[in-house]
Symmetry: C2
Subunit: 275 residues, 2 copies
């Protein structure tokens, strides 16, 4: 399950994507329009989305997932440069809530972080303050449920709909869907999550740097899909897109990259989802 | 409510859009892949979609809508040229089931026909054999429900889901949603439907033709939004996009256009929806 479950952050990211604005500028506009609160922490740091991810994972997998089980990363460090990189890959950037059941069916993971998704993915066209939950399962294939993620009337409509359902259930002596945790699957830590990564490095523009960097990836068992290098005044920017690797392996790689003399800095690390 | 409710025709139109193929070529591929039946009439002439439109209109408006009440036009006459025109307008073409409640709330309409929709509309990104129902209402805003429109496993999953719901209802002594026709709104004929139109005319390339054509539109109360004229060897093609007008007014206009000496033919008439 991949979800865009926070209207404020989707509005900000959509604004950055469509106008090339930076994070602060887009946040200011969201605040002026009443989409973002005076203290936007709960939204932009992903706390609101993480709470929703815990609820959605519980519904999806009949397993109790606690808020503490959800890995959380906000979107305050997404830059205009990240959007430019995403465009080059035919992607956009969304703050996603991702709940997955492992291929062996024995465990689940839940996480919230910014991610690149292909422009052809149904979630890529969820604009402004809209929300959507995209579900993929063996039997039903790909499903998506889309609607407003903010606003007085849509919120009132949803709450009223729930109240009507409760009244109907009480009248007929039945109950609606409740918490269901019978599957009781193991909730895996973030280190076990497997996905692809888009990594931007600032490196020295001299021979041998690419070999050094590639060696670090290989030593940590992270396979490289594509590399793009661009030089400028003795410095160079190196963009590496990996094949699927675990979060633990990626973290080990980045730690080792930071120790290389020739790597001036890790400009950004972005997961690539929905492919 | 705007719906893409037939997977076969959406596959064909998507193929025409993405490859520039003609209708017959795209249909042949759909047949080869098992998406289209040996006799594709029920799909490509819109009968299947019309039946679904009647059901959806009933659910949406609590009004009995019969199949005979649904205006129906197939998509066999959509051409590669129509897709080229759609692209110039920032649109694509979909076979849509459209159920609307009039602004005064007193009547409803239901219809199935090919239509241009903007590429920014959520339905524009419904590709291949996928289906989606897009709903817009005062309180809830825009909602969309998206999923596979064909295939063994998704169909089995949906049928099984319905059976489980029926079993649950029987066990708890309740019933699921049933036919609801208490609103009993009037079902208006197609002539009263109001929308925008994209009309391609083949005309003589000589002075005064545009004035003649524009006069016919004005005489029938159909207001013109944009006109584009392109000449080629004494012939010219004239593309007119109208403001909102009733189907009856548009039909009167087209009938009068056909009688003009300078109009060699009406190449296509396509409604423009979802703006």
């Amino acid at each position: 399950m991949l979800g865009i479950v926070n209207g404020t952050t989707n509005f900000i990211l959509d604004k950055m994507d469509s106008t090339g604005a930076g994070y602060q500028e887009a946040l200011d506009e969201a605040t002026a329009l009443g989409y973002a609160e005076a203290d936007p922490t709960a939204d932009v740091e992903g706390f609101d989305a993480a709470a929703k991810a815990a609820i959605l994972a519980g519904i999806a997998f009949h397993t109790r997932v606690r808020l503490d089980d959800v890995y959380r990363e906000g979107m305050t460090e997404v830059t205009a440069a990240d959007f430019a990189s995403a465009k080059e890959m035919g992607c956009t950037i969304k703050l996603l809530a991702i709940c997955e059941r492992a291929a062996d069916g024995e465990s689940v993971t839940a996480r919230v972080h910014p991610a690149m998704i292909p422009l052809t993915h149904p979630l890529a066209s969820v604009r402004g303050a809209y929300n959507a939950v995209f579900v993929e399962s063996d039997a039903s294939g790909q499903l998506m449920f889309y609607g407003p993620g903010a606003g007085g009337a849509p919120t009132a409509s949803a709450v009223l709909g729930d109240l009507v359902a409760v009244c109907r259930n009480r009248l007929s002596g039945t109950t609606g869907p409740g918490e269901s945790a019978y599957a009781a699957l193991r909730v895996s830590p973030m280190g076990e999550v497997v996905t692809r990564y888009h990594i931007s490095l600032d490196v020295a523009d001299k021979p041998g740097v690419l070999a050094q960097v590639a060696t670090v990836f290989a030593e940590h068992g992270v396979s490289i899909d594509t590399v793009r290098q661009q030089g400028k005044d003795g410095e160079a920017s190196l963009v590496v897109v990996t094949h699927r690797a675990s979060d633990a392996a990626l973290n080990g790689t980045v730690e080792a990259l930071r120790k290389l003399d020739t790597v001036r800095g890790v400009a950004s690390i972005m997961r690539v989802e929905g492919e």
